[in-house]
Symmetry: none
Subunit: 191 residues, 2 copies
Amino acid sequence: MAKCSLNKNTRQRQLSRYLEEDPFLTDEDLACILKVSVQTIRLDRFDMQIPELRERVKNVARGGRQLRTMAGGELVGDLVDLEIGNSGMSILPVTPAMTLSKTSVARGHHIFAQANSLAIAVIDAGAALTGAARVSYKRPVYCGEKILAKAVIKIKKGNKYMVKVTSEVKDEIVFKGKFLVFALQEEGVPQ
Amino acid sequence: MAKCSLNKNTRQRQLSRYLEEDPFLTDEDLACILKVSVQTIRLDRFDMQIPELRERVKNVARGGRQLRTMAGGELVGDLVDLEIGNSGMSILPVTPAMTLSKTSVARGHHIFAQANSLAIAVIDAGAALTGAARVSYKRPVYCGEKILAKAVIKIKKGNKYMVKVTSEVKDEIVFKGKFLVFALQEEGVPQ
DNA sequence: AAAAAATTAGTACCTGGTACCAAGAATAGT
DNA sequence: ACTATTCTTGGTACCAGGTACTAATTTTTT
């Protein structure tokens, strides 16, 4: 029974690993991956109290449904002005999902994300990457406030850009950052 | 036909309103709410190109998954080790949602977010804020790779901490950052 | 009243399951 | 070597929440 038990256990561990990675797998998918029958998968799920696909999907949907922030576009915040190769501006309203639950203070990486994505947007290139950044947070930003980020290209050398971003809430500076950005040539990017 | 058309239109508007509010409603639920037959609901959905429940839930789930990384928890990535007041480690698998659509290179602010949130997590405080950061990206990270971030507190002075974070993919350093973090006293934070 | 539009009803079929029963294979204990 | 136990597989009936399609019925328009 040892060998069989071992197989069963390792299979069940694998099963949960696969499902953690991708909860959208059907029993049939799993059976195929783990080279056992669908029934075995079902027994395994039952053993491990793992609900069926539809329930899993529902759970993910309920858990993840909140405010959108970093998801959709390439840009965090709403672009209000863009002069490619020169400067740009974006507005990010701070929603509850972006704040530390205890304090309703916006988490730093959201402010960074707005600035960083704006810095990249002003670059005149199909794609660009941040190489380095030096940022400082001047004061906390609270839920409900709107962050206006302004980016200006300061230096351009070949495919290297230095972009300065200043973020304000009602004319008060909350964040400053210098971003070193590299423009990528359209091809040549490994997959 | 005017009255009927009107009824149909208003019903369809109501339908989409109800579904926006709660995408988990079945056709039967909707039929009950709107006092028409299930078939009518189906025709309406077909008219308005609204997919069936399971598809809707899936969409929400997929959307939710992307956001979860930035929106859901306070931490970006999965904490694998944490010694509060000393060091911590987290893993962030790079999903398609995090990458520049053209190149499948992870956008910088996700890598920053993982590091930043880890830096805050290692601080021994109810809440903490990033005051400044100096970061550099050593090489692009691609979709499918897993980023292992390691944070260590280097200096502590009162409520000020200097945290160094190094992120690697398969023992190769992809990102380095120094974060200046301030611990917040539990109260006294304005709403 | 006839034509057109909208609604409802009914059927066959699909996916991804549950719940249950029985047969077959593998392993353990003796 | 043989039996008992555990694992695995197969099969069936059933369910929710649909699709796709046809046909009948009601409502509205002309």
